[in-house]
Amino acid sequence: MKIKALTANEAMAEAMRQINPDVVAAYPITPATEIVQHFASFVADGLVTTEFVPVESEHSAMSACIGAAAAGARVMTSTASQGLALMHEVLYIAAALRLPIVICEINRALSAPINIHCDHSDTFGARDSGWIQIYSEDSQEAYDSVIQAVKIAEEAFLPVMVTADGFILSHAMQRIEVLEDEEVKEFLGEPKTPYTVLDTDNPITVGPLDLQDYFFEHKRQEAEAMRLAPPIIEKVGKEFGERFGRYYGLVDPYRLEDAEVAVVVMGSTAGTAKEVVDKLREEGKPAGLLRMRVLRPLPLKEIVENLRDKKVIGVMDRAEGMSGFGGPLYTEIRSGLYDVPSHPPLYNYIYGLGGRDIKPEEIEEIFKELFDAAAGKEIPLVNYKGVRE
């Protein structure tokens, strides 16, 4: 193990170097560009044996990844925002062809207006594409999760995107514990891919036309793979913890057990919110936090177990779902708690769009409003924090 000062971009690129994938097909986009740059340097310096395909667009990046994975290669790429949106069509195909591709995704707002800073609207846009989604609280987790993602993808035969918040993590230096190359190699083992189009003695047809009499069965199987993914993610997180000392699960509860009021967050905001929880606890207020590390598959059991007995819940969304009724995480958590008898009231806080900072004081305000609600005060269901109205 080595200690290094790295940004999330550098940490994810370092993980990619250690994974040494067979093929990387990628296209630059702010704020994920550095990942491709660093990786290109690794290739140029002979530090990896990867075949690097510097494609002409993100659509082609994912298309080439699909081709390479279908040829039995271990395959990775990186992107953000508009890039992920441009991949949208082929994301579904990667998942449905059950190809274990890994994306290092840096969260950035979607146009318009054009903006290069963090929010989660890009990966929320890919929520239903059949990809496992893992969100990172910090760069250490981004690094650790990228390594785990390869193993998860190759066990679930589903593609995985690991995300880190744009600029907040992608460009901020952090102390990172980096594993030895050998440790990563040993942890991952040889690539496991579901089939190969390179076996010309046993030709297969990949991506056939699938009509009314088979399509449904195939989608049903894909859905089943997603349903079976949580134990795989947990197993890999546990194994990673046992080997390297950092354990990961589907969700990350913080001072939640005896909390009366809880917020649900994703990404780097969790770090700030945990500080606020500590402060409130010092003041004797029973505050807690649930960080969603995995959004797809939706950890329904964990949502229920962790939140069922809370008095009031606030869901913080760094995305606007344009549903007319709150952000996308809000509707997910709200739906997750539906089966809990007398489920707690849930309030939504949409914040931080386009990289707008979220300050500890603002999170404190959110908690204050939630405690007020717990005391019987009426507050709106959907709220915007930190916006000029």
Partner: protein, 309 residues
């Protein structure tokens, strides 16, 4: 060395019979001709389109070689990935044999929606062959105009109406666009001249780096002709100089077949229902313009050939 039909007929078709192409389908003939040369150690990457739809209706497949279809616009990108994986795995000693990589798409998937992915793959220099079966419109979705549709042609999105007489634009010269990438081999072929086509496929597959062949693939349904006339119409396209057979090898143009006595383009046009309206008196000027364009392009090609000597 010309191909021997008798010998070829003994080989098992790698594009198997039983697929669901229409009677007289030009592209289906092209598939057989390509695969007869390519042989079994070939991976085919397909764009969405007629040939994809008719050949792989699950749980059936007409492909006796590995085949991958992902989407419409990305055949070149997908085959780039397959070829990259092959290189990586070969380097690691996981695979040894020589494999051909062929991307196949129609004119919609090549001239229009797929041109970016094609251009990128050519520029990156992957070792692959891209075949465009050019049937001059979006036939799979029901005969809509494409960048390959010729002047005056009736399609369902360039209909011959009372005011507008079919497609009002000339077509893209995709073969030249591709050749302008400076790739080692680009060619135009027609299934009517099967030996020429197969020689080109052979040459393309032996080429190190990207190769491209644009094959005219008449469509009885979209061009409105009787299915037994497919090859005749392909031949007329060559003999009227509408579809010159030529190749561009390392930047040098060579016309591989020069009709001794070129026919007026009208003879090709009149065989097809999509041009029927051009023979009305008020539209005759389009035929003249068509002929002018064909002449001009042929002259240009002759000059390019001469400059290559």
């Amino acid at each position: 060395m010309p191909f021997d039909l008798k010998e070829l007929s003994k080989e098992k078709d790698l594009f198997a019979p039983g697929h669901r192409a229409c009677a007289g389908c030009g592209p289906a003939i092209v598939m057989r001709q390509i695969m007869a040369v390519a042989g079994k150690d070939t991976v085919v990457g397909f764009a969405t389109g007629c040939m994809e739809v008719v050949s792989t209706i699950f749980p059936y497949t007409a492909w006796r070689v590995p085949y991958i279809h992902v989407a419409f616009e990305n055949a070149a990108a997908v085959i780039s990935g397959v070829e990259a994986a092959y290189k990586a795995l070969k380097r690691k000693g996981k695979i040894n044999k020589k494999i051909n990589f062929i991307a196949i798409a129609g004119d919609g998937g090549t001239y229009d929606i797929g041109i970016q992915a094609l251009s990128g793959a050519l520029e990156r220099g992957h070792n692959f062959l891209y075949v465009c079966y050019d049937n001059q419109a979006y036939m799979n979705t029901g005969i809509q105009r494409s960048g390959a549709t010729p002047l005056g042609a009736h399609t369902t999105t360039s209909p011959a109406g009372d005011v507008i007489p079919g497609k009002v634009q000339w077509r893209k010269d995709l073969t030249e666009i591709v050749a302008a990438h400076g790739i080692p081999y680009a060619a135009q072929a027609s299934p009517s001249h099967w030996n020429d086509l197969m020689e080109k496929v052979k040459k393309a597959l032996e080429t190190e780096g990207p190769a491209f062949i644009n094959v005219l693939a008449p469509c009885p349904v979209g061009w409105y002709f009787s299915p037994e006339r497919t090859i005749k119409i392909a031949k007329l396209a060559v003999d009227t100089l509408f579809w010159p057979l030529y190749e561009v090898e390392n930047g040098k143009h060579r016309i591989t077949y020069k009709p001794r006595k070129p026919k007026p383009v009208e003879e090709w046009l009149k065989e097809q229902g999509r041009f029927r309206h051009l023979f009305q008196e008020k539209n005759r000027w389009i035929i003249e313009e068509f002929q002018r364009q064909v002449n001009e392009r042929w002259e240009r090609l002759l000059r390019l050939e001469e400059a290559s000597l």
